[in-house]
Amino acid sequence: MTKLDLLRFPLIKTLLRSRWPQFLVRLLALAGFVLAVLAGLLGTPVGSRSFAIVFVWILCWALLMLAAVPLFGRGWCSVCPIPMPGEWAQQGALLGPLQTMTARWRLGRPWPRRLRGIWMQNAAFVLVALFSARVLTTPLVSALVLGAFLLVALVTSLIFERRAFCRYLCPVGGFIGLYSQLAPLELRVRNTAVCASHREKTCYNGSLEGPYAGYGCPWGAFPGGLVRNTSCGLCMECLRTCPHDNIALNLRLPGADLEQRRGRGLDEAYKGLIMLGSALAYSAVMLGPWGALKAAAFAVGSLPWLGYALGFLTLVLGVLPGLFLLAAAAGQRLAGRPLDRRSLKQAFAQNAVALVPLGLAAWAAFSLAFAASSLTYIPVALSDPFGWGWDLFGGAGVGWTPLMSGAVPPLQVIVLAGGILWAARSAVDVQGGRAALPVIGFCLLAGAGLLWLLVG
């Protein structure tokens, strides 16, 4: 397989090895985050005029789904501001390690073994999704949720070692990790034999030595053993601590990780189904014509909302997994493979690889719709972030205009069609031949549903 190691270019290597560029970008992101929280707490309650809503849930979310994740995988995680205060408190420093690796006031416990995997992230995403009609549109609620993320990350960093929040709790990180498997970018080691002979394993344990001073992998991964992008946050810490120049940042063919069979568990399978179900639900609620559904999703705490919540949970945790299980079982049967519990579990987890391209395509198609129609909110939110009647950059008077409305439906069709085809190819890679047909059928059904909701 052809790969291009970007770290062979001195400028890129220098920029990524140095802590300053990353720190400055993260600091800017943190300032924006704090501004968003303040705008939500103190500014206008009208979502379309609030920096909190426009910049976080419209601009950043669209950039995430349409560019950051498809092109850079976990690239967002490398500049995410949410864990910053926690890291500073945990490490006792903003840049690299000073005399000691960690500050005195943290407990540094390892994350409980039973809670490893991405089950907690699945639960966190479903929890936020239940309230998303309010979170994504009401500045105050959004500010409280974002503030809660910051607080939970801080507390987690004080109790547990490394970036435990990012690895095991962050609802956004859960799906970024899943979809990062499709990105044309990966961080790997150049030569595993070099890692095998390196006793200190400074990439995992950290180092205080001169030019190689840095923290052990904040994500708790061993770079020498990375075969997929899912648990590498692209923080570049290993690039700083490896004394043997053995880290590579490769450009590669998109989706190379999908060929990996190792490490695929039920948690990732459920994540794929939760994301697919959420895309369907969001498309119906946010972009659909059913006022009663919107009203029910918005009226948190009411009886109609309870009905909506139960329906959503049934879809993402019951209906979709149930249908997918049937498809996986049918595939097993067609392939003449056993149908015992263990085999079915494995088939379920392995076939879920098809949900990765399908899910990202679903979210990209959904994001195209709201992004194009909401772009003109951006100059307004930038010029008047709090909705107080300011006009900092002359854009406060820009009227709402949906952009590219003619181009969006064809783009959505292309993206969804691409996702379905890629999913079908992945299913064939897993099952082989006609045994892949049931899973392909599932993907077609989901894709057709999305097409109908978004374009039909």
């Binding site: 802590r19 704090v34 309650p45 009208v46 903003l94 000073l98 107080w388």
Partner: protein, 348 residues
């Protein structure tokens, strides 16, 4: 850069950017507001608070700077009985305006865009004090005509006679001068005027419908097409949502009133406002009046309709407009209401 110096620089940047940026923005707002005092009014749907604040102080002759913003749906802002332009308040869009009141007094500001079922409750008050050194208040307004005439606004007023069909205005007939007096036509109901004309020798030889035509003609001559047009605009903006474009009481919010009326009937039976059978006594929520009903309308004097608009319905759901419209505006509205009974645009 040595590690400790780099760390110090990083910490300084962090404090400047992360704390300094938002604090700087908030400070800017504080300074801007202190240097030029402004009263910020938030408009919300009535069940969420309406206008906040609902009461403002001002001084006659001094500018009152207002910053208006809607926190939810489209609202409007206007100050009753003044020439200040009406302002639309789009959700989240701040509008600044400066008002200067020449005369002290209590002014009512209202929402002018239908924002929900309780839109008519969305009002506030501007208490304008006399300028420093001045103590005289403007003279009090004249009491409404219905008070002078001793009319009971809440008593039923069925017409004893009604036309067989909608009368078209007939003018050009010589009638005694008293029939054309404004005082007379405002104090008497059309049915009363019809009875007076019917028994007057001047209408010998006319049938009942022709006499109704004369009544409609008198009503036409007491107004002008321009006044009717202004009345129509006022009706469309302030009355049609409940009373309907056709005046039949089927406005878009009429169903809300009907539901409230039903609840009020049940409540009234307990609280004593209405009989157990549900008959209302003028103080419980009612469905909006049907201006096309001849029995009800033709038995009402213009002064009675004027009074109802000025005073409101006292719990029936009909808002009061006495502090919002000028007296002449209310008369124009009353004159327009008769177009639901008479063909006033026709005639000479």
């Amino acid at each position: 850069m040595p590690a400790r110096r780099a760390e110090r620089t990083a910490r300084l940047l962090a404090v400047l950017l992360v704390l300094g940026l938002p604090l700087g923005l908030l400070l800017a707002r504080l300074i801007s507001d202190r240097s030029s005092p402004v009263v910020e009014i938030h408009a919300r749907m009535p069940h969420d608070g309406g206008f906040l604040p609902g009461e403002i102080q001002a001084v006659a002759g001094e500018p009152l700077r207002l910053r208006l913003v809607s926190d939810d749906v489209l609202h409007g802002f206007a100050v009753g009985q003044t020439d200040f332009p009406e302002i639309d308040l789009y959700p989240g869009q701040t509008v600044e305006t400066t008002l200067v009141f020449d005369q002290p007094g209590r002014y009512t500001y209202v929402c002018t865009r239908w924002c929900g079922p309780d839109h008519w409750r969305m009002r506030g008050v501007i208490d304008v004090r006399p300028a420093a050194g001045e103590t005289a208040l403007p003279p009090a307004a004249d009491p409404p005509l219905y008070l002078e005439l001793g009319l009971d606004l809440d008593a039923p007023h069925p017409a004893r006679v009604t036309p067989a069909s909608r009368p078209a205005a007939v003018t050009g007939i010589e009638l005694p001068g008293r029939y054309r007096s404004q005082d007379y036509l405002r104090a008497a109901s059309p049915a009363q005027v019809w009875e007076a004309l019917r028994s007057d020798p001047v209408t010998h030889g006319m049938d009942d419908e022709q006499v109704w035509g004369l009544v409609a003609g008198l009503w036409q001559e007491s107004t002008t097409p321009q006044r009717l047009e202004q009345g129509r605009e006022l009706y469309a903006r302030s009355c049609a949502a409940c009373h309907g474009e056709t005046g039949t009481g089927d406005g878009v919010f009429a169903s809300q009133h009907a539901r409230d009326a039903e609840r009020s009937d049940h409540a009234g039976a307990v609280e004593g406002h209405a009989s157990p059978g549900g008959a209302v006594d003028g103080h419980a929520i009612e469905a909006p009046a049907d201006f096309t009903d001849p029995e009800n309308m033709l038995g009402a004097a213009p002064a009675l309709l004027h009074g109802k608009i000025v005073r409101g319905g006292m719990g029936t759901g009909m808002p009061y407009w006495g502090t919002v419209f000028s007296d002449d505006q209310i008369w124009m509205l009353v004159e327009y209401l008769w177009t639901f009974q008479f063909d006033l645009e026709e005639g000479k």
